[in-house]
């Protein structure tokens, strides 16, 4: 059985998905043409302290922005979704897509001094894919049958073709660390001397609850070619301060006490973009969108009826709600797939939503035609009620207001009662594990969309239910095995049509992006396209 946990891990990352913003107000820092200078140090303020720095157990998407500084991956994912050499200088794929042969660079050293060779990479991948170790990313390597290492040649043999393998290998989740300490497992979560990667920076010091300081790796000479330079990073030192409070983070940036922040609150974007000393950059909308996942099983009756789910989906005017709440700083979503991804099915745009009359007709037809004294629809004396549970920790950036606005519109337009609560994650995840849930608002992060579908509905997340969106899971399975890009795209389109338009099992709300705001003296900020989060600081430099 394929046990893909990537989506699950992504789901855990809900807690740190950052504020979103439309590209219309963003300016890109790549526009500056000045010559980079070496030296200097910068300070980032990030919203959350990573709970783990070891790639195999680093379950929170936003944390990868920090880990990326320290660990490299086998291949590099470009902006256009293609893959270029990184720790692997070349690779070949057999015609049937079963065997991948990687040739590794022979000049790469871990910060511990150990040499990176095929055996080191094999040790990493074997550790992560062994489910006994409890890595959230074992599923990324679920199709791997065998790995062999011979000096600098790494051969990965699959049990079936897997179109997501390079995507997975490019991710921080499968970043390579010194295998000498790999058996320490979760002990590596707290960064100390033991955690040793081959990245452009090395962890210098870590103060729990406060900050982590990274120092330049002076020996670094194996950057991906598409990055603007080679050799060591420009900066001598990078500090990440953990500042949970939104207003403190933005205030610290505006007063020059930190140089850059991620987790930019949508409502601060206007004042940040007005500030001439700052640059605001929005990340790509290239991961799963934020939206409602609806339990389609009979345990969630009457919402196991697709017509009812569609009626709820069409009961509110999402454009107006999103604009009113985010003042144009966020883009409403049309699909489960982010609009900047190659996989996005563009035909979904304007194809659903905001149709109360059709919704009312469908609800009448389903027998929910009477109303009680409060104006809610009833059937056989029972009120038409929909439960939305959102773990309190993940609620941020006006998402509760968004749900409340939808709650309001659903009542006014169609007489559906939305019961919105915010329990703890422990309580909610227990409900989900039991299959006892109705609507969960969130986004699932991603390494690979097809993988995400399987991990979400056929793996551990909603896997407890006997029910599953079989068609989406089958299409995703086919997409992963597809060796023809056209077939892959067709499968992905089918998944989106099924989940969003035909079945309303996922109601997209807003695009997920990771915006960054930084001082104008800071240049070269970019995004890691394997995860959609801010990239490490290899390209970053400061002007005086």
């Amino acid at each position: 059985m394929r046990t893909t946990l990537a989506a699950v891990a992504g789901l855990l990352s809900l807690t740190t998905l950052a504020a979103c913003s439309s590209a219309s107000t963003s300016t890109t820092s790549g526009a500056d043409s000045a010559t980079p200078v070496s030296g200097g140090s910068i300070t980032w303020a990030v919203a959350a302290e990573p709970s783990c720095f070891a790639p195999a157990f680093d379950d929170v998407l936003a944390d990868r922005a920090i880990t990326r500084n320290v660990v490299d991956s086998l291949v590099y994912q470009e902006k256009d979704g293609t893959y270029t050499p990184w720790l692997a200088s070349a690779w070949e794929t057999s015609k049937d897509g079963i065997t991948y042969t990687f040739t590794l660079r022979d000049d790469v050293k871990f910060s511990s001094g150990a040499t990176l060779d095929a055996a080191a990479v094999k040790a990493n991948l074997d550790y992560t894919r062994d489910s006994a170790h409890g890595s959230s990313y074992a599923g990324l390597l679920g199709s791997v049958k065998d790995i062999t290492a011979d000096k600098n040649t790494l051969t990965i043999t699959l049990s079936q073709a897997d179109s997501s393998l390079l995507s997975s290998l490019s991710s921080v989740a499968l970043g390579i660390i010194d295998p000498a300490t790999i058996d320490d497992g979760k002990d590596l979560c707290t960064p100390g001397e033991k955690l040793s990667g081959s990245g452009p920076f090395v962890i210098d010091s870590y103060t729990r609850g406060s900050q982590v300081v990274l120092k330049q790796n002076a020996d670094y000479a194996w950057a991906p070619e598409s990055l603007s330079h080679d050799g060591p990073a420009y900066l001598d030192q990078v500090t990440y301060k953990f500042i949970a409070e939104d207003s403190t983070r933005t205030g610290a940036l505006q007063s020059g006490q930190v140089d850059a922040i991620s987790g930019v609150p949508a409502l601060s974007v206007a004042s940040l973009t007005k500030n001439q000393k700052l640059t605001y950059t929005d990340g790509p909308a290239s991961s799963t969108t934020f939206g409602f996942t609806v339990n389609g099983s009979s345990e969630n009756a009457p919402w196991d009826d697709a017509e009812l789910r569609k009626a709820f989906r069409d009961s509110f005017d999402l454009d107006t709600i999103v604009n009113a709440i985010y003042k144009g700083q966020k883009t409403r979503a049309w699909s489960w797939v982010g609009k900047d991804s190659a996989e996005f099915d563009t035909t979904l745009k304007d194809s659903w939503g905001n149709d109360p009359s059709a919704a009312n007709a469908a609800l009448d037809a389903a027998g929910w035609s009477t109303r009680d004294s409060e104006g809610y629809r009833t059937k056989d004396g029972k009120r038409l009620r929909l439960k939305i549970t959102y773990d309190a920790d993940s609620v941020r950036d006006q998402r509760d207001t968004l749900v409340e606005a939808i709650q309001d519109a659903a009542k006014k337009n169609t007489g559906i009662e939305v019961d919105f609560t915010t329990p703890t994650w422990a309580a909610l995840s227990a409900d989900i594990a039991k299959g006892d849930w109705s609507i969960y608002p969130g986004s699932y992060g991603k390494v690979d969309y097809a993988n995400s579908v399987i991990g979400t509905w056929n793996g551990y997340f909603y896997g407890a239910n006997a029910w599953k969106p079989t068609k989406a899971v089958d299409l995703a399975t086919d997409a992963i095995g597809a060796t023809d890009p056209a077939q892959y795209k067709k499968d992905l389109d089918g998944i989106q049509q099924y989940l969003v338009k035909d079945q309303a099992l996922f109601v997209p709300l807003v695009e997920s992006t990771f915006p960054v705001a930084a001082s104008n003296t800071l240049h070269g900020n970019g995004f890691d396209y394997s995860s959609g989060v801010p990239d490490g600081n290899y390209n970053v430099w400061v002007s005086k």
């Binding site: 709970s51 609850g209 007063s255 309580a427 995840s429």
Partner: protein, 315 residues
């Protein structure tokens, strides 16, 4: 019986009570956390909890497969050895997590109390018996200091003195300058409470006959209040100060959040929202221990300061 042995017996009784209180706190937290919805496995594994292999591993490694009484006994023995267990969420030993956070919180809370005491003392000494108008104005100011939300006060101080004037850093725990604003934020409500109490106690004392006697010796005004009235209200003020510990802990959670400071408050908040039982228990125990330590110290100090208490104990 000598006053020295009264002191010793008082302290011994206090210590016995303290141990009992700690045991009760440990037991209540242990049982309470087990009663919360959501199993320990689901806290550790999240939705992976459906993987029987992983769930079994977690149960075995945390000893959850043993009878409840055995788990409880083991837990108490662990506490006696100073073993606080391992965090479910942070992948680290609780003693390491909590140990690294005690210092910053102690610095914050300690300095805030000292500052609050100084402010309250100054206001009380300068204003006791100063007349109704002054008292009313001070009363309003004190009420404001107590009632204004800590979050709002902190954000305001931050905006004014860090973001705008740039006198102090807005975040972190590097040296004294980063302590000033959080300390002030935390000290304000405590100062308000203490000042209100001390002023009223002093005003009452002023009406007592012995004050007239002192006055008749020519001691009056500031000197009377500073040298005679302050010792008079010192013991009860100390007790009130000790009882503001709850205020300090609640405040520390907010202050540490606003000012991005490491500390127990933040750890406690994360542990509670993340259902991280071992860390929650550790924080509760530390707070209980601090409370016991402080009240005991104050009681002992009272015995030392006020000879009447010692006499009452012997009679």
């Amino acid at each position: 019986m000598t006053s020295g042995s009264v002191l010793l017996r008082g302290v011994a009784r206090r210590l016995a009570g303290a141990v009992l209180l700690l045991w009760a706190a440990a037991t209540l937290t242990f049982v309470g956390l087990r009663l919360l919805p959501g199993s320990v496995e689901s806290v550790v594994l999240g939705v992976h909890v459906n993987d029987p292999g992983l769930a079994g591993q977690v149960r075995a490694s945390l000893g959850l497969d043993r009878p409840f009484a055995v788990q409880y006994g083991d837990y108490l023995l662990g506490l006696l050895r100073g073993d606080l267990g391992r965090s479910y969420v942070l992948n680290a030993d609780v003693s390491d997590v909590v140990g690294s956070q005690v210092g910053p919180t102690l610095a914050l809370a300690g300095s805030a109390v000292v500052l609050a005491g100084a402010i309250a003392w100054l206001i009380a000494v300068l204003s006791a018996g100063a007349g109704r108008t002054t008292e009313r104005i001070l009363h309003v100011i004190e009420l404001l200091a107590i009632c204004l939300p800590t979050f709002w006060v902190g954000a305001l101080l931050q905006l004014g003195f860090s973001f705008n004037l740039q006198w102090f850093p807005s975040v972190g725990a590097d040296g004294f300058s980063s302590l000033v604003l959080p300390m002030l934020t935390l000290a304000l409500p405590v100062a308000g409470l203490l000042s209100q109490y001390m002023r009223e106690e002093m005003a009452q004392a002023l009406r007592q006959p012995w004050v007239l006697t002192v006055k008749s010796r020519g001691v009056s005004g500031f000197r009377l209040r500073a040298t005679h009235l302050v010792p008079h209200v010192a013991v009860s003020s100390l007790t009130v100060a000790g009882n503001t510990l709850g205020l300090l802990i609640g405040g520390a959670v907010i202050v540490e959040s606003v000012f991005g400071r490491p500390g127990l408050g933040r750890v406690a908040l994360d542990a509670v929202t993340g259902s991280d039982a071992p860390v929650t228990v550790a924080v509760v125990l530390i707070i209980t221990a601090a409370y016991v330590l402080i009240t005991t110290a104050i009681d002992v100090a009272a015995l030392v300061i006020d000879p009447r208490l010692r006499q009452e104990a012997t009679s």
